[in-house]
Symmetry: C2
Subunit: 294 residues, 2 copies
């Protein structure tokens, strides 16, 4: 029987292709591109990009399988000694053009150290620019149901992790309406690989119906401006706090594949505030305190 | 006689106002705003913003004087124990609208620990989007001449520091054409405060003639696009590597005053490459290897 490492590789490569195919079917007008790349220390990956579609302004779907050297700093951060680390995973970020459709991110990964320690991690979170209660509920309900199929405590724990992880400290607010986030699943790998696979498979069920429902929602300059300003905070999170981004850059991953997560267009306006009692301030209120959605 | 701390405070407050006044005189069409703020742990500051002018798309000039608690992490980074740190300084970033006028940054600061250790630091660097040899030479000549008035070895050392500091590792290129950068000037404080004051005074002489010379240089969509994409790298540097930005956010400084350094508008396009033998690729070549300018 294949090792967990081999099965994880095969799973992520398959998910990568499936998600790309379903995504391009959902927006036939987007132009697509695929880059294969190798890592200087060993391994490589594939990046699909979809852009300038009627829904997708920019979306990137990565697969990678890379062996690299853990630096002193990175080793300390995960409580181990400097050694080689093997990492494989699939990650994606979707930046729709319309401010009415949320941005979404998913990442699933398997890591294995030279000393034999190995674990799964991942999650997904959604970042709306305008708040629709039913969208947040739909997203979380799909996630709760996949968690519940595996372990009753998962959703509550992983939802809380997600709220804590995707928090923009210097803005005192969440990046979005959250989702689930898990790491260091190292005990029962057989169970974990199934769970991770199921999370990957439901991703588009959690997201696409929302994109579909909001794609004809009207918007104008004001809404676009708000989206561009809020996207600035998305970029701040990824560059200041996101462990995957920092890990990728520090281990000399492929810069363009890592930073495909950054929004296609962003504005930073000094001290921009949402107008009181507006649709914009309604979003900010939601981001300032985590809620239960499912 | 006033202490070095009091004199540093007075110097930075004066520079802050002078630079703001000369800058608004240089672009009368820019709207201006001033915010005074206090820090939760003690002290505060003032932020001037100029925006939407014919030259200045967004410029911020900060003054701050803040006492905060050094965390374990920050203390380790500067080789000391957790304790209170007093920091005062002035910093500014100018983002012109025209892609033909470089973005520029300056920061001057004085830090004092509870244990009595204290030092000056600072510098300035220029980031053109299109390369004009005479602009880089002018900027560096002014800096060399102020350095030479104080100590013959300064310019060579501080120019090298600057090239090393403003390097975007994951892009394998410099942020711009550099300038000077110095830190931990702790030996002769009398000398250092004069040097720092002189650097502050020549800043606009180093920069304004360049803005003046380039403001009528023609440009179109292609040049604007290039500027927006290159500004993405500016944002990457500030959020990933800039010690001042990270120090400010970690010590709970005022977010809007710290992040005023981010460009007003940015684009991230996947794997954007300069056309071979173009004016854009000429800039990239300059950024890929540091040169001598003065």
């Amino acid at each position: 029987m294949a090792s967990i490492k081999e099965r994880a590789l095969a799973l992520f490569e398959k998910l990568h292709l499936e998600i790309f195919e379903r995504l391009s079917a959902a927006d036939r007008s987007a132009s697509t591109r695929m880059d294969e790349w190798t890592h200087e220390q060993g391994g490589g990956g594939k990046t699909y990009i979809l852009k300038d579609g009627s829904i997708l302004e920019k979306a990137g779907v990565n697969f990678s399988a890379v062996t690299s050297r853990l630096s002193e700093t990175l080793a300390t951060r995960i409580n181990t000694q400097p050694q080689n680390i093997f990492a494989t995973g699939t990650s994606l970020v979707i930046h729709p053009f319309s401010p009415m459709i949320p941005t979404v991110h998913m990442n699933l990964r398997y890591l294995e150290l030279e000393n034999g320690d190995a674990w799964f991690g991942g999650g997904m979170d959604m970042t709306p620019w305008y708040f629709f209660d039913e969208d947040a509920r739909h997203f979380h309900r799909v996630l709760k149901s996949v968690c519940d199929r595996h372990e009753p405590s998962f959703y509550t724990r992983f939802k809380k992790n997600c709220d804590e992880y995707f928090y923009i400290k210097h803005r005192n607010e969440a990046r979005g309406v959250g989702g689930i986030f898990f790491d260091y699943l190292r005990e029962d790998k057989e169970h974990s690989i199934h769970f991770v696979g199921d999370v990957g498979h439901v991703f588009l069920d959690a997201y696409l119906p929302i994109a579909e429902r909001r794609k004809n929602e009207p918007w104008g300059d004001r809404e676009k401006m708000w989206q561009l300003i809020r996207r600035g905070r998305y970029a701040e999170f990824n560059l200041l706090y996101d462990r995957g981004t920092l890990f990728g850059l520090e281990t000399r991953g492929r810069t363009e594949s890592i930073l495909m997560s950054l929004p296609p267009e962003v504005k930073w306006e000094y001290d921009h505030q949402a107008e009181p009692n507006s649709r914009e301030s309604a979003l900010v209120e939601v981001l300032q305190k985590p809620r239960e959605w499912a």
